[in-house]
């Protein structure tokens, strides 16, 4: 794909979505959808920054970087994330990739949901699909979180594997997302039925 066309494609993803024509006031749902997209964008930026920082610190703590690894090791120790002296690089890399993926998945789904709500009718099958995928992403987040915890406990001396009920909030959100998806699907069917009447 030519460079200019690719730049335009990327710009369209982060720019103003379709449906916001000049002169038309956005509806309340569109305003909330825009807020959702903005929130997801900021959250994504912070998440990416955090995970890149973690990767950089772990890399420097190994002594691979040009700078002194002592600072990186001190920071990791302070956050109880300093790996053992003989840790498995592959396992930690796998945990990093998995953690990044399951952290970003709900955020990406949230942004896509906001974009769907902004550009399409609220009661549509496309919006219902977005809610379903958000539910899947939240479940993946829970499962991924447990997996990463298990890996971290085996590779990081200070990390203690413990069971907490914090995941219940995410699980509740996932179930709610599935329920709302079904509600929107029913609404889309009713709207379609209504459109068939003149």
């Amino acid at each position: 794909m030519p460079v200019v066309a690719r730049i335009k494609q990327v710009g369209a993803v982060f720019g103003k979505p379709r449906g916001s024509e000049a002169g038309t006031h956005p509806t309340r749902i569109q305003r909330r959808a825009r807020d959702l997209m903005s929130f997801a964008s900021v959250f994504a930026f912070c998440t990416v920054a955090w995970w890149l920082l973690m990767a950089l610190l772990l890399w420097q703590a190994r002594g691979s970087g040009s700078s002194d690894p002592a600072l990186a090791q001190h920071l990791l120790e302070h956050w109880h994330l300093l790996p053992k002296t003989s840790y498995n690089v592959s396992m930690l890399a796998f945990a990093w990739v998995l953690g990044f993926a399951v952290a970003m998945a709900p955020i990406i789904c949230l942004r896509k949901l906001g974009k769907s709500l902004y550009t399409q009718a609220p009661l549509s099958f496309a919006v219902a699909r977005r809610f379903t995928w958000l539910g899947h992403a939240l479940v993946a987040n829970i499962v991924g979180g447990f997996t990463i915890g298990w890996v971290a406990a085996s590779q990081i001396a200070q990390y203690q594997l413990s069971f907490s009920l914090g995941f219940l909030g995410t699980l509740t959100a996932a179930i709610l997302a599935y329920v709302v998806a079904e509600m929107v699907r029913e609404g889309a069917r009713a709207a379609e039925e209504n459109r068939a009447f003149v």
């Binding site: 039925e193 068939a196 009447f197 003149v198």
Partner: protein, 69 residues
């Protein structure tokens, strides 16, 4: 479909264009076209009333039931 819509015939009798009827009764030309073709699932009483008022006819002049068999 068992319900036949004879809107075309009534429009011809009254010498009215579809576009004018659509404007008069407040529906889009696309929806009126679908109605004429019988591709709609139903007609609201309000729309039927507006059509009868505009074309000066009865619902029975527009809608006929034909046994599918």
């Amino acid at each position: 479909m068992p319900i036949i819509i004879e809107l075309d015939i009534m429009l011809a009798r009254r010498k009215m264009k579809s576009k004018d009827l659509a404007t008069a009764i407040g529906i889009t030309e696309a929806n009126l076209s679908l109605l004429k073709q019988g591709k709609v699932k139903g007609v609201r009483f309000g729309t039927l009333e507006a059509i009868c008022k505009t074309l000066d006819c009865q619902p029975g002049d527009l809608l006929h039931y034909v046994d599918a068999e």
